[in-house]
Amino acid sequence: MTFGLGSLSWEQRRKLTGLLFVLPTVLFVTVFFIIPLAMTVFMSFHDWPLIGEQSWIGTTNYTELANDRQFLKSLDFTFRYTLFVTPPIFILGFILASLVRHQIRFIGIYRTIFFLPVVIGLGVSSLIWVWMLDQRVGIFNKMLLDLDLIAKPQLFLAKPATAMNVIILSVVWKTVGFTMILLLAGLQSIPDELYESADVDGAGYFRKLFYITLPLMRRTIALALILSVIGSVLAFDQFYIITRGGPRNSTISIVYWIFNNSFTYWKMGYGSAMSIVLLGILVALSSIQYYVLRERV
């Protein structure tokens, strides 16, 4: 069967075959990333209400960002949140990966249990946490009261610090299984012979950790950290559902503020400008992380 390609040389056929293989991906990326990105850039130079007429306003949306108190506050909050949520996810993920690394009895069940929260949608898990945090029927207050750790039910979402802490707790619970799986793959790719040699040389746990495990997992760690940081910078659902940005607007993440401007205040152009700035920040952050954690020859 030639499909009319008989006149093509072997080299041309090879190139065409390669092109056909990547075509679905190219189409997917074009339709779901390149075109929306171009559209967002285009919109960001307009006064673009959700409903009504649009008009070209040049870079006004971008210059207004500098005077948007809440935009700067949300950026600050999002970075602080990322800074606080990333280490526990990574450290706990690493500990769990180490625990489920070896083939012991029922290991599949343990891995499944740790991974289970990951398969729940973030919106659903946030609703579960709203219920668990409730002062009347929530399980947290019930447990703390039964253990005599508190005298009366606590309003966890009433104060900015506690609201932030419970959000971090919920996100760690929700996402740590994913980091565990990534790190587990990295751990399992390290040949056992290296550890056996280290054992023969009398290396202890920490020496093996710092001289074998972590250096050989550099790529996996980079991937886990980059994904975790991107996920944290783009956090939205948990704040929208659990705290609704409160108390006193202290938990409005940057994506929440973009959502508010685009869909609550109907300022799609302004929301687009913020999205482009956020994209730039994410590219910069990921580049820095990748550079720091790159393979050194």
């Binding site: 959700l50 409903i51 009504g52 940005g245 006193r248 409005i252």
Partner: protein, 416 residues
């Protein structure tokens, strides 16, 4: 017949049977209608309309906080409903954006056009043209628990008429026991506080916006500060339960129903809810008082409009006209303790013996509704300046900071 053929035959039969009701429905036009979730009144009304035969309405209920967002997104996507029941304060914004059908001629031709509630009709009007008519009528007032008044040594038949009298009543009720509180407000609900807290300011002669709604008067009007101090006093003295600070509106109605709250702001929607769900409560109602007396109310609720993209304007208008008719107003509004959309019918054969319904209806006489294209951004947004100002002043006690923040953010939003 092979098992495969049997399954195939059963599937064909099931498809044919399923298609029968659809064919029957095709005799009439099918329209979509959106409403925010504020009780079952609209479902009853739509059911009654559908039972008449002819055009049918498919009702979609949207969570109140998300109505504007979803409606805006649906319009942008070209999927707006044929009929929309809109929180009346958003009507000007939707009309200004050209998303509502101009129904001026139809409304003016009604024999009772001048009888429609004026505040709601005004908000359904944009640049002299009519885009919406009154639909759900809510005037805010204070509901109180007569049993707790009596237990606190207060006269249950003489409700408070000033801020001080309310404060004294709240103190006496709170003193009953550790589980009982004098007053309740939803401390994390922006819209609830526009509905039940703004009238305290209006009734005292103050306002947070200028008469033309184009400037903020938060920092310059002394009544605003006094109103914040008033609620702050109740909060500081523990007359309001601590859980109110995180109530985003989900307990706005139910908190009073527990029977441990002396007084709380509400609207006509509360009357049936409390009576049906808590028949043991002995209820009273009074208008939201001013500092030294007087009264005010937030003229809230919904107006109903036809989407400009509808394919069935005649049928949609037929529903609106049926809704406003004498019979519907009497049998589906008045008979169910709901406030009518017609002024001349506010007092009717059903309301005369019901002091709560009369209070709800008469609240509209002292009612006010801000006319602003940025109402949502100012008052209803959970992250907007109104709620942030209330929380900082009342819950944190920083009244000076709250006034400044409110003034600045209101001004910023109004000036665009």
């Amino acid at each position: 017949m092979t098992p495969r053929r049997i399954i195939f035959a059963v599937m064909i039969m099931a498809l044919c049977m399923g298609a029968l009701p659809l064919s029957a429905q095709d005799d009439g036009v099918s329209m979509t209608m959106w409403v925010r979730n504020i009780g079952d009144q609209v479902q009853e009304l739509v059911d009654a309309w559908n039972d008449r035969g002819g055009s049918q309405i498919q009702l979609t209920v949207i969570p109140p906080n998300e109505f504007v967002t979803k409606m805006g997104a649906a319009i942008a996507a070209g999927e707006s409903p044929d009929i929309a029941s809109i929180d009346l304060i958003y009507a000007p914004a939707f009309a200004a954006a050209g998303q509502l059908l101009d129904i001026t001629d139809w409304v003016d031709a009604l024999p009772y056009a001048d009888d429609l509630l004026p505040a709601h009709s005004e908000l359904g009007t944009y640049e002299g043209r009519k885009y919406a008519v009154p639909f759900l009528i809510e005037g805010s007032f204070i509901i109180y628990n007569k049993g707790l008044f009596e237990a606190a040594g207060l006269d249950p038949e003489t409700p408070p008429t000033t801020w001080d009298e309310m404060l004294e009543a709240a103190r006496a009720i709170t003193a009953i026991d550790d589980e009982t509180y004098g007053y309740y407000f939803a401390g994390a609900c922006a819209g609830c506080n526009a509905f039940t807290y703004l009238p305290f300011i209006w009734a005292s002669g103050g306002d947070v916006l200028s008469d033309d709604y184009n400037a903020a008067t938060i920092a310059s009007d002394p009544i605003v500060r006094e109103a914040l101090e008033y609620y702050r006093t109740m909060w500081e003295e523990g007359l309001i339960p601590e859980s109110a600070s995180i109530d985003d509106g989900s307990s706005f109605v139910s908190a009073f129903g527990t029977g441990t709250i002396g007084m709380a702001g509400t609207g006509a929607f509360g009357i049936n809810t409390y009576r049906n769900d808590h028949p043991d409560l002995e209820l009273g109602a009074f208008h939201i008082p001013g500092k030294e007396g007087g009264a005010s109310s937030f003229g809230g609720g919904d107006v109903i409009a036809i989407g400009s993209g509808t394919q069935h304007p005649q049928e949609a208008w037929a529903f609106l006209e049926w809704m406003m008719s004498d019979e519907t107003q009497l049998e589906h509004y008045a008979a169910r303790n709901r406030t009518t959309v017609r002024v001349s019918m506010l007092e009717n054969e059903y309301s005369q013996d019901d002091p709560l319904v009369l209070t709800a209806a008469s609240a509209l006489a002292v009612g006010k509704s801000p006319y602003s294209l940025v109402y949502n951004d100012l008052f209803n947004d959970p992250n907007g300046p109104w709620l942030e100002m209330i929380q900082i002043a009342i819950l944190d006690g920083d009244i000076e900071g709250a006034l400044q923040l409110g003034q600045d953010r209101f001004t910023q939003i109004i000036e665009g």
